[in-house]
Amino acid sequence: MPKPRVLTGNHFQIGNWACTEGALAAGCDFAAGYPITPASEVANFLAARLPEVGGVFIQSEDEISACCSAIGASWAGRRAMTVTSGPGISLMQESIGFAAATETPLVIVDVQRFGPSTGVPSVGLTADMVQVARGSHGDYQIIALAPNTPQAMFDIMIRAFDLAETYRTPVFVMADGFAGHMRERVSIPEAAALKVRGRKIAAPAATVLERTDFLDENVAPMPVFGLGLRAHVTSSCHDAHGMRNLSDPEVMHSYVTVPIKKILSHRDDIVRVEETRTDDAELIIISYGTVARCGIAALELARAENLPVGQLRLETCWPLPDREIEAAARKAAHLLVLENNMGQMLPYIRACVNGAAVVHFMGPEHLGQIQEPDAIVRVIREILS
């Protein structure tokens, strides 16, 4: 007997397994991928699991093809994803821009690794935080979510598909080699408790000129293929009907601005942060991903010394939780940005703070080795002394 789509129960599993089961529980029925460490297990698990639930897995000839096939599948009505690591994201960048420009629901899992270039495949480093947001050419907006535990890798996949389908946009799951390979308890709820909003589907019309298929700030219903809707889809500059228009200044303007506004005007639904003891904090750690767990450990050690420390964990990294960061800066005199890289999000966070607090940064002492809670507490003591 094949396993059911939702494996309700408690499991002791690695993050990459939880990610796969999260995708299935979210209704994913298409995935394409190319082998790459430390993301390969997700593709391996998907290759085994998707056929069991009537889905499709394709091992592509490269990451470019994987991303393009997933976009094609999404237009063909599937809940589609691809999974890779940094080098694969670099190759996918052109198609990521395509997905943003054509308003295609797509989940891209990035189990980040040590870079640049071929780097160290098996060591986790959140090194793609900016490239997923700004890596494709042109001006656009994506959504990126960062899990911090194997459980979060399950939960965040549900949310990633929900947001991708709701807002017709690429959504990144910014895992890293630590969260992907860490083995912990993963609790999967009953299928009925899982909710993923589906995409709106366009209605038939005599021609696309009678329909708004694109460029609606409140998300146009998607003219999915195979339903006789005769959609015209192009990533070249297009009007609300999807027809190519390379000369009208109004069309050019809305082609770029509306998909960006579509995300930013719904930021309250998209942005999620986790605040821990920030109310009386004089120092708030701002972190995301696996290293935020070191932040919590340091927070507990510091609180035991009566140091007033809190943490703001960014579950949504893009769009940047600007108001939440600004609010933290108004609460605490000091912000300690804790990132498992050389400070990729730091300039963006600093811009939100806008001088309202002193911004400090702490990366790993040795890149590739995540910050020790004791070392974080030493930095906190210094700042607060």
Binding site: M1, P2, F30, A32, A48, L50, P51, E52, V53, G54, G55, V56, I58, S60, E61, D62, I64, S65, C68, S69, A70, I71, G72, A73, S74, W75, A76, G77, R78, A80, E94, S95, F98, A206, T207, V208, L209, P223, F225, G226, G228, L229, R230, A231, H232, V233, T234, S235, S236, M243, R244
Partner: protein, 276 residues
Amino acid sequence: MTAAEHPLRKHMRPHVTRTTTCPGCGIGTVSQAILRAVDSLGLSMDDFVFVAGIGCSAWIPTPLYNADTLHTTHGRPIAFATGVKASLPDKRVMVLSGDGDLSAIGGNHLIHAARRNIDLTVVLVNNSIYGMTGGQAAPTTPMNTRTVTSPYGFTEHAFDLSELVKAAGASYVARWTTAHPVQLSRAVKTGLEKKGFSFIEAVSQCPVQYGRASKLGSARAMIKRYKEISVPVKKASAMSPEELAGKLVVGEFQNVDKKEFTAALAEARAIAGGKN
């Protein structure tokens, strides 16, 4: 008096009234050959998803054809089409693009789709040059041709795309020219009926760019030349390489039945116990 409507106009988007092709371009002939094949099979545009790349020929289905159409990035239409076809195995998925798009930047996707034998019908319009960007040499440009990027003569050997795709494992491969519109349409029809990867190479004149570079001149002169240099596959098999120099082999290069990719995916689902 009402204006007579072309019998194939019904397959085009009613609000699209013009094309972007230059005078003398072969794309009109190729497009008509495709629509005649669709018509002769009694198919509706709703039976199709058309996927196009970047370049002049990619603009045949988008915006002309009144179907679901996906205009993609440069070189990637086959990769996009793979996801479409695997998701909608009952639809006919046709890829339309040029030699630069499908064999240079997109060459990897072309050979791997042929290897998988996925049920796509790929019509590659081969004009031997990059037309849209202004006449640069392509993998299909004959050696020694002077183009804007090979001002001293092209220093590379040209691909024989039909032989390439045949070797990569396609079920059906045919090459015709715009001087053979009936045979071309028949090849598209056979390709559409074939369950597997079908590749139809349509050698087509670009008088503006390749006509100038090759000094072959006008569309009329180029079509005339296609007739002169074309040799049927069967006749060519008995000719020596010296005799074939400067010739263009046309006809069916491959027509076999072998397991198709989406059928193989369905078999894998059955083994896994999943629904089909």
